[in-house]
């Protein structure tokens, strides 16, 4: 009985420690995801525990490794910047304490929709007989598609958030350790057998 009381007291102390020292996330891994909306690039950073990366440093590199933009994530782990002119950018997140992640964003497919379709439409009104150019049609279509796809882009960004380790992986890891133990025992027992001969 005495021991149970002691263990209960210890457990209680442990819980008190939890409350007294509110800690920061000590997750293992950080993730960053980026997507393009309009002419802005949005990024979202989070730890493997699901917590957002607050005040994480973000550096955007261009194709040749040159530094383009630098910034800090907000409370929601987000950071947005204007779409750079490069076709391929590398976004690196540094979340302190040795946590780092990067995301490579390719722009193909995002280009071309820069011109405002509304303006184009106005131009078309004033000169109704001029045939609408291919570029203008493309601009309008791209804007509409982008709007329609926005929820899907968001959904993918949510899905791309890797979940924590799965049970299969955990059990698999333990299996590996047991296997290694078996190998070690096998070799040691062989050695012992030789020694006793």
């Amino acid at each position: 009985m005495k021991n149970i009381k002691k263990i209960a007291a210890a457990a209680f102390l442990g819980m008190v420690a939890f409350v007294v020292f509110p800690g920061r996330a000590t997750a293992h891994r950080v993730y960053i995801y980026a997507w393009v909306e309009g002419n802005k690039v949005h990024t979202e950073s989070y730890f493997s525990s699901g917590a957002k990366v607050r005040h994480g440093r973000i550096v955007v590199f261009g194709q040749k490794g040159e530094k383009l933009i630098e910034g800090v994530t907000d409370k929601e782990g987000r950071f947005s910047f204007p779409l750079p002119k490069q076709d391929r950018i590398r976004i690196v997140l540094d979340a302190a304490m040795g946590h780092r992640a990067e995301y490579v964003l390719t722009m193909s497919g995002y280009r071309g929709g820069r011109k405002s379709p509304a303006k184009k439409a106005k131009e078309a009104e004033t000169e109704p007989f001029i045939k609408t150019s291919e570029d203008e049609i493309r601009a309008v279509v791209e804007t509409v598609i982008e709007e329609k796809l926005r929820p899907i882009t968001r959904a993918i960004s949510r899905l791309e958030r890797a979940k924590g380790p799965t049970v299969t992986e955990i059990v698999g890891g333990i299996g590996y350790i047991v296997g290694l133990m078996g190998i070690a025992l096998y070799f040691k027992s062989k050695k012992q057998g030789q020694n006793s001969k």
Partner: protein, 201 residues
């Protein structure tokens, strides 16, 4: 306290790898036939411990258990921790393969240090001495690990004191919990299977 790939400079990675290799080979030599299962079980515990997240305030913390591993295994903590970290890196992408050596050092050096300091007081027959020693063992192993991470990060240009402060502060609750868990485990082992504490490689 897993340092990701691409954070550290090459010399630090190489040095970490060399130390980890030396420690592991030394540890492997110390493992006897009878202690192999014990090393494996503690390796598995270490592997799983960092997956258990305890919600704490706005974020969560996880156990490390390197103090307990050190206390029970001594130098054999090196191979045990190396294997666990390797599997974590391969299966969960925690840390990374290039930083495996450094990460092993960060966890295993405190484990061996904790063993050197607390192994005999933790095995004391006086309950409170044993309890206190195992508590300190668990807590100080986390503390030392935090200091080692800060040291490794100096190579990236971070200032040692500010990095150390940040990491130690973040791990204060972990230290308290680790201490309690280690102390309770040792207490339990002393009652149920005292021979485990005796058979240290």
């Amino acid at each position: 306290m897993h340092i990701s790939e691409g954070v550290l400079a090459a010399p630090v990675l190489v040095a970490g790898g060399a130390v980890a290799l030396a420690g592991t080979s030394l540890g492997l030599k110390r493992i006897e036939f009878d202690t192999i299962p014990q090393v494996a079980v503690l390796s598995a515990s270490f592997f799983v411990a960092s997956l258990i997240h305890v919600p704490l305030g706005p974020s969560s913390v996880h156990l490390l258990l390197n103090g307990l591993v050190g206390l029970l295994l001594g130098w054999a903590a090196f191979p045990a921790i190396l294997v666990a970290l390797l599997l974590q890196a391969v299966l969960f992408q925690f840390g990374g393969l290039t930083s495996l050596g450094v990460n092993t050092c960060v966890m295993a050096i405190p484990a061996v240090a904790a063993y050197a300091i607390f192994a005999s007081p933790a095995r004391s027959k006086t309950p409170w001495i044993s309890f206190l020693a195992s508590f300190l063992c668990g807590a100080s192993a986390v503390f030392l690990g935090a200091i080692l991470v800060a040291l490794a990060l100096v190579s990236t240009g971070e200032e040692f004191l500010s990095a150390a402060k940040l990491i130690v502060l973040a791990h204060l609750p972990v230290m308290a919990i680790e201490g309690m868990v280690t102390a309770i485990c040792i207490r339990f082992l002393k009652k149920v299977k005292p021979e485990i504490l005796g058979a240290v490689p």
